[in-house]
Structures are given as C-alpha cells and as structure tokens.
Amino acid sequence: MAASVLKRCVTAALKVKRSSPSLSARRWLLSAGYTDTDVWEARERDQQNLALLANTMDRTYDRNLPVSSLTVSRFVDNISSREEVDQAEYYLYKFRHSPNCWYLRDWTIHSWIRQCLKYRARERALYTLKNKVQYGIFPDDFTFNLLIDSYIKDGDFKSACSVVEEVMLQEAFDLPSTQILSLYALGSYLATRPQLNVSEERVVGASLLISGLKQDNTVGLSAQLLGNSLLGKVEILKGIHAVFKGMPLFWARGYLGRALAVMERAAAAPGDVKLSKDTIDYVNDLLQELSSTSDTDSSGEESGDEEGKKEDALDEEDRDEQAKLPQYVSRFKELSSQLETQGKVDSASFQALVTALAQQNLAAAEKPDLEEYESRVKGWEAENRQLIQREKEMREKAEQDKQERLAARAAAQQV
C-alpha cells in the first residue's frame, strides 16, 4: 500500500511538471501557460510619471476639456503600487463621466484587471466590474477567463459566480474556455448547497441557462434544465417582470414549461446525452416546494389587505401560470420516469460532470485562445503607437500655430 501511495505521489509530481492540467494534483483549471504574464510584460513600456499624468488630467477636467484615452491608458499601465490602484479607479470613474467615455480602450481595461490581480487588489477589480455602468469596465473574453480562474484557484466560488454573472449580463459566452470555466464555477458553488434568496436564484438561473445553451452535451442540457427551473420558480413567486428586468432574458411566460421541454429533448435525443441525477432531484424539490407554498397561499387568502397588495404585483397572466403548476408537476413526474426507463439519467453529480468535461476539453480550448491573445496584444501595441504618433503630430501642429500667431502679432506690433 505504501508503494502504491508512493507511486501515486510520483505520478502526481510528474503531472504537475507537465503544463497540461490534470485535476488530481491541482486545484485550479487554467494552465500556467494561460495565466502567466510573460506575453503581457513583454510589451513595450511607455514610462511616464504618474504624478505628472494625474496633474495633467486634473487640469484638463478643470478647464472642461476632454481627456484623451491615451492619457488614461498610460496612467493604468504605469501603476506600481496598491495606492495607485485606488487613484487609477478614481480617474477611470472621471473618464467614464466625460464626453470621451465611448473611447475607453480594450487594452486599458485588460491592463487594469491585470494590475489589480498583480497588486492583490482583486476586490477592487470585482467592485469596478460590478459597477460597470459607473466605471465603464467591459472586459473581453480572455480577461474574464483570467479573473474567474484566479477566484477558482482560491476556492472563492461565490465571487467566481459574481464574475460569471457579469459575463452573463454581457452575453459573452462565446469562447468554449469561458463556458467551461463558468459552468465549473457555478457547479462548485451549487455543490456547496447555499441558501439562495430570490434575486440570487434569478442570477444563478440566468447564468446557468445562457451558458448551458452553448453546450450541447449532458452538462449543457442539465445546466439549461436547472436554469429554466430556477427562473420558473422566480416567475411563479414574483411574476415575469421580476425575471427579465435588467437581464438578457426572453420575456415570454412559461419558464417551467421550457424546463420540461429540455427534459423532453434529452429524452428524444438519439446520442449519449443524459441529464444528471442531482439536477433532476433539485428540480423535484423545487416543484414540491412551490406547490406546497401555493397551497398555503390559497388557504390563507381570505386574511388581510397586505396579501391583496402583494398580489397586485402579479398580473392575471402570472396567476394563470401559477394555476398551471400542478400540470407541470405531473408532467415532470412522467418525464423523469421516462428518462429513467430510457437510461438517460447520469448518476454523477453536476460538478463531477463539469470537472470531467473540463479535463477533456479545456486544454484544447486554451490553444486558439492563446494564439488569438498574442495577435490581439500586437494589434493593441500597434494602435497604441498610432495614438502616440497622432498625439505628437497634434502637439507639433499646435506649437507651429502658436509660433505663427506670435510672429504675426509681433509683426503687427512693429508696424
């Protein structure tokens, strides 16, 4: 037994040395090649004095003139300590509330997140991301992956889920690496069995649904089922407007119906597509809870005017949805028994399924991302150089005009 333990340790050590991820020895997902900062640090640096830049920006804002995006990007690039991270946050806020807010560059946002991660200011990055309306931080896919990965590495699944919520609000689930990472974060969060209030349920449900729509396998369908059922629960409790307000979701009623449609699709799909058992159990518990609360509501209806006010928030159509709840419960029972007889219920938990999926596909998904990132960095550098060039030209032209004006004035004075 000692020999086998030793062998396992040796193989684990060997696996750590290789760059491909293997989850027996590591807690994180993205490989070292993805998260290292060599490519980013290897860019040409534009060394500037932060105090000078801050001074220039303050003066420009006082005079009510627009600040260029180049100044802000230089400020963020030259951050070298934790206090300067806070200063940069202030200047990002000011830039967002200036006429040039549309021109905040992608590389500035990427560099801001990188600097926050480097100087251990991750909660600042998360705060600016959550208040993206006020700070204008809209990261691209690569940056989102880095941020989610750093939270998963530390086991902080709640914050990882807040980042996934931001990705969902931007509908940025295009890259397979983003989809895998977000499903992993959501699966791990749900595996800790947290107590979710209604707004959290809405957020988690929406993220599960939109990320699950991109994947066509067991994991994707289970995520869609779970997402639809959580959203259906919020719909029945609070009405459809509480579901889609402020989120990229469809406004048609009947989320529970759509959840059952996902189960039907899984039952009818020819391949090896299954639904995981714990999602089906979760949906079962959810439906039982909903039917029991609706029974207590209808029995307690005669009491009080407060109940009347609460029910005014729900339309007649929302109440029709509530009336359909028993039908949903019976159809769910039929479909789950059908799935079991067809053998399409996977006994592994959702999190185990996602981990397996990550193990298989993440390495392959990372490679095109890295190549695209490198080419993107080069493009950013070229744009940066162009901007610097343009600024220099404009400054020379302004100098020339000033000289001409001075000369003309001197000539006029002499005459």
Binding site: R96, H97, S98, P99, C101, W102, K132, V133, Q134, F138, L169, Q170, E171, A172, I210, L213, H241, F244, K245, G246, P248, L249, F250, W251
Partner: protein, 219 residues
C-alpha cells in the same frame, strides 16, 4: 419725412449675447427627462406623467438604462418596445448603430441614439434617429432569442377590392368607349380601391397632357 432709424448697436450686441447664453443653458437630456418615481413628476417642468403610463414606468426601463450596462453601449444589438410587442404580431425592432450618451447623467441613463428600424418585419434602408428613447418601454432582445424573434410568417396581403363607378361617370366612360369605336362592352368598368401611384406634380402633369391629346367632350 421718416426720421432716420437710430443704429442701436449695443442693443443688437445684447440680443446676440442673450441668444448665445440661452443656447448654452439649454437643459441637458438628463435634466429634461429626469423623473421622480414617487410622485411621477419631471423635476424640470413639474409636470406629471399620464396615469396610464405609471405602471410601465415602474416596471420597464428606458433605452439608455439598458444600454449603459452593455459593451460599447449596445451598438449592433436589437431592441424592441413593449407596446410593439403587444400591438403587432410581426417583429418590430431597432438595431442600434450610433450613440451619443449624455455624460452628465449619473448612471449614463440618457442620450440620443441612431439605428435601423425594422417595422412589422420590413427593414428600412437608412439610419434614422430613434424616437421615444426616453420612454419606459424598451426591452433588449437576447442573443439566443434573436433568430427566433426575427423569423415570422408574413400574412398574405388581402386581395385588391373593386367597386362600381358612380352612374354618371359610368355613362361617360361607356359613351367614350362607344365613340372610340369599341362596340358593346363585355364587362363593367370597375374602380380598384388601391392605386399604386404617387400623387405628385409629375403625375398630374402627365395626366393633363394625356387628356389634352384626346379630343372631344365627355358625354
């Protein structure tokens, strides 16, 4: 004799300065369209919103409230209005192309937007400024719903109906036809209820010319 009008230069200058200051102090979009949600009044004018709009104002959002939280302010995304969803079955949406946001608003909540309208399934060809941007009526079309939202089965156009001419005009037409040597007319002259003709100056001029070419009186 009329007394010569005095050149009041300073008054002229004052008038220009007053006009310039009025131009500069126009209220911004964020001030014009700000709303107090408890009393449903606009702080700028003190006027109240119409009562039928109150439920929508509480439940839905303005276009820029949705755009503020999106990358590049949602350029290239589709947006519908709840009133269109309720009225028409065919899809109607705006695709945003250009944004000018009012940066003095707190949550980047106001501004102007331009885009391409598709009304009841028919897409227009030009970019126009979006109207009713400040109405609390807008909904984002999520990316996974876009295709499903855009397909629709167009209803067949109802056939063109025809109607008899008034009796005097009918008699005139038949007699014209007879004089032109047509003989007995097999079918009744009918008037189509839809004419695909743009009624402008050129059309009337061409009609006039054609009428002059024909000689003789009517009956």
């Amino acid at each position: 004799m009329v007394k010569k009008k005095r050149l009041r230069l300073i008054a002229e200058m004052a008038r220009k300065i007053r006009a310039y200051r009025e131009l500069k102090s126009r209220p911004r979009e964020s001030q014009k369209y700000a709303l107090d949600y408890e009393t449903m009044r606009r702080p700028l004018t003190g006027k109240m919103l119409p009562v039928l709009a109150w439920q929508d104002v509480r439940r839905e959002s303005r276009l820029f409230s949705l755009l503020a939280g999106m990358r590049l302010f949602g350029v290239g995304r589709l947006f519908t209005r709840k009133s269109w969803l309720e009225e028409h079955t065919e899809p109607s949406y705006w695709q945003v192309t250009k944004i000018k946001v009012d940066y003095t608003s707190e949550n980047m909540d106001h501004g102007r937007a331009w885009g391409v309208l598709t009304y009841k399934g028919k897409q227009e060809s030009e970019v126009k400024e979006m109207d009713k941007v400040m109405y609390h009526d807008w909904r984002l079309v999520p990316k996974h719903i876009e295709q499903q939202f855009k397909d629709f089965e167009p209803l067949p156009e109802p056939p063109v109906r025809y109607v008899h001419y008034p009796p005097l005009l009918r008699a005139m037409l038949l007699s014209q036809h007879h004089e032109a040597g047509g003989g007995a007319v097999a079918e009744e002259p009918v008037l189509p209820l839809r004419r695909d003709v743009l009624l402008n100056k050129d059309y009337f001029r061409s009609q006039e010319q054609e009428r002059q070419r024909r000689a003789g009186t009517a009956v």
